[in-house]
Each structure stands twice: as structure tokens, then as C-alpha cells.
Amino acid sequence: MSGPAIDARALTRRFGTFTAVDGISFQVERGEVFGFLGANGAGKTTAMRMLIGLLAPSSGSATVAGYDVATQAEQVRRRIGYMSQRFSLYEDLTVRENITLFGGIYGLSNRDIAERTGQILSRIGLQRAARELVREIPLGWKQQLAFCVALLHRPAVVFLDEPTGGVDPITRRRFWELIYEAGAEGTSVLVTTHYLDEAEYCNRISIMMDGAIAAMGTPSDVRRGLGAATLDEVFLRLTRPGAAV
């Protein structure tokens, strides 16, 4: 793959008279961790659904891993991983069975599945829990497992929709170390979060407001651009221009 991992050009989606995503343009480079921020209802989820080939754009275009999301959605879906707050793991299968099942769905060989299962279990320290039902393991482990499963087929881009909701601060940070590693290995990551300290861990961020991108750049550039000390302050200024800081 050459060129950016994600390339959105004036990407737009309307629902009736309502414009949920209003001509957004941005690129995500290979290996980049890109924070996709915005208030509830700003259009993040709609934009993400277009990028993963689940929703057709009304106008504009986007390529993911070099394929057009509108006309080559199947090619796109083969090259991406996706993890949402509601994990797609099967609660009544064991940890190992889940990995095997998703490996099979992704069309991996038995040998690849066995090898990657071992890698995943040792990476997140789950060897001893391999035969436990997913229902029985703590939330933090489920999140890490869901992330590794989303990476099982070595996708070019992985989409994470609020991956760290509800976990303790140590588990949250361990999860971000996994994200960093994926980036360092060349996987591009697009991640949404409500924790603004996590936004600081991204290479670049964008902040969506009313369907458009209101600010974009490295976290320090975005802060400097608005003369704000923290991203919290940036967020407040952009989304509630009238509010006192």
C-alpha cells in the first residue's frame, strides 16, 4: 500500500435535511495514531461508519488502505479491524475459542491461527485464562483481547470506538501501550475517546463539531492554535463558544 492509510475528501452524509457529516477532509498516515474527537452527536460515528464501508457517503469520497469506501467496500473491510465499546467477542466461548473463531472468519490458516493465538495470549498475559469463558474474565482483559482480535488478520487500519470506557486507570494505560505498539508496527489507528488526556497520546487529533472538522493537528499544535493550556479547554472553547472557561 502506498499513499495514506485513510484519505477522506469532502466526505459528506445527509439524513433527510440533516447533514450529519459536512464535507470533512483528512488523511491518516501509515502507523499513525489519529484521535477522532468531538462532542456527542458531532458526527464521529457517522463518519466512522462511512470509513468502514457500512454507510454510503452522500457526496465526497474516501479511500481506506487505498480502496474506495463507496465502490470497493468489500476490499476495505478485508483490510480493516474494528472494535467498539460493545465488543464483538462471544461471551459463552473461551478466550482461545474466540481467537480461533475470528481467525477462521478472517480466512487465516490453522497454522497462522495457532501461532497468533500464542502471541496474543503472551502479549496480554492471558495464557492462564485461555480456557476461561470470555464472560468470566475482567472487563480490562476483554478490551485487550477484543483489540488483539481486531488485529488478528494484520489489517492496515484499525478503528477503535471508545475502546477504554469504564476501566481502571492502570488498565486504560496498558491499553494505550498496545495501541502504541500497533502503530509502531505500521498499523494505522483511528480512535475515539471521551478521555481528553488520552487524546494527548495521539500523533494527531481532529475535533469534530456539527459535522465539520473544527480543529486538526498534533495535540500541542491544536492547543497552541487556540491559546489553550489543555485539550479540555480547547474542547470547551470549540463546542461552547459562549461558555466561560
Binding site: A39, N40, G166, Y180, L236
Partner: protein, 312 residues
Amino acid sequence: MSQGLAVEARGLQRRFGDTMALDDVSFDVAPGELFGVIGPDGAGKTTLFRILVTLLLPDAGSARVLERDVVRDLWELRRRIGYMPGRFSLYPDLSVAENLGFYAALFDTTVAAARETIAPIWRQLEPFAGRRAGALSGGMKQKLALCCALVHRPEILLLDEPTTGVDAVSRREFWDLLGRLRAKGLPIVVSTPYMDEADLCDRVTLMQRGKLLVTDRPAEIGRRYPRPLLAVRGGSILGLLGILRRFPHAAAVWPFGAALHYTDARAGAAPEGVAAELRAYVASAGLGEVSVEPIAAGIEDAFMWHMAEEAA
């Protein structure tokens, strides 16, 4: 209103199968206090709230709310407490105004009678009075739920994770509303997984795996951090993280936004001296210029410290 304790929990215990959801939980909430229960999913917050609002029986221990026993005096208590469960529990097909009217009717009162109590919240909801509750944004849903929990003019509010999944700005607005209610003397017990919300409470307890790790004023919890704590900035976070964790005196190193927080293992060491050592160490590892400065610990630092201690 009585000046006795708003909440008095003693040795509360509750088990679900093999899981100890609450393990010897004791704390007080003073009259008029805004008290925060801070902890991740699975800490036991909801179990605690369900016991305090008389919806669940403890296996052992006791709790009094508004000086009434949560087991014996449940009928009397239920009329006096306002409870907002963690899951959105209003009727999505009823409008904002209809939901509010319905809850008022359940308590044999009217919205008009509660006008003064709910005024600051109703002002923000009124433009959406005719909208179906299911069509509200996340932040607005929570404001409506708060309004419904207040409509019978309770003497205490118990709010279970009212801001989970709500964006940063809506969270702030919700806490502004809680601040106004508190200013009128209403005691409030609120749980949250967001550590930054702890600073908005009078006192907090940090909860993990059914246990209370520490209970105090937020500033005091930071002040009681038992080791030198320093912020390290500059260079690549991931590179610095690996290097600092190998420093012989490192007790813990974690990313905190744009910085790393480094805890030294030597309890009595002078922070300035540790800072100088760290600068020299990072330079000798070839990572170039970094800034290192002693800092005061926040709630999240303290939470992680107590978590690690509990696990050890």
C-alpha cells in the same frame, strides 16, 4: 432537615456467587455534602447504590440513609430519596414533559409543586419539552433523569454514574447543576469512573474490587501520596516510558496526557534531588533534553498507587 449523617454505612458486604461485590464497606456522608464514589466498572459502585436506595439487601453490615435503616425502614425511605440508576430508565416514547409529569404522579405530587427545586435544570430542558425522551442527546437525557429524580423533592440524591459515556462538555454542565443543588444544602452521593470528576466533590472514596481504598477530601488524598512524584516531558513518550521504567529507583511510571508521571521508590527522597538524577539518567540514555519537575499528586495518581498496593 435533620443534622444527623446523610449516609452511615457500616461493614457492608454483598456477594454474588464467587464474586465479593462489596467487602466490608464503611463510610459516612455528612449533611449537605457532595460525596463521590470513584471507581472503574466492576468496582461495586452499583451494588453499593442499590443497597443504599433499598433495592438490594446486604449479606452483612448495615446502612442508614437520612438516619433510617435501609432494610427496616425501606418504605419510609423510598419517599425521601431521589435515585438515578446507571442505565437510562425513563420512557423513550414519552416526551420530556410527559416523563416528568409521570414521575411526579408516581409520588403523588405535581411538577408545579417542584418548580423551585428543579428550576435550574428545567430551564435547560424546557426548549425540548415536547421532544420524545428517546430522541434526546446523551447529555440531555441525563439532565431529564436528574429532573425526574428531583420531582418529589427528595432529601438526598443518589446518582449512579450519571455522566458515563457523556462528552466532556456535557459532563461539566451536569456537574454545574450538582453544584447548584449542593449549594441549597441537598446531600448528594454520586458515582463516576472519571477520575477528574473527583475534584468537584467535597469528599470522595476510591473504590476497587468491592473495597474502599481511601476516603477523604480530594486535595488531601493527593497530599497523602507517599512517595516523590515528578512529571517528565519531552521527546517520545514511548521511548521515555521504557527508559524511565528501567531506572533503578522507579516505583511506577505512567503516561498522563502529554507528560509521564514518575514515582520514586524512596519514600523520603528530596524531589529536587530525584529530578536532577532523572535528568542525568535520561541524558545518559541518549534521549536528549527533557523537563523534569516535582508535582503534586492528583486523584488518578493516588488511585493507581492504592490499586498497586492492594494488588501487592
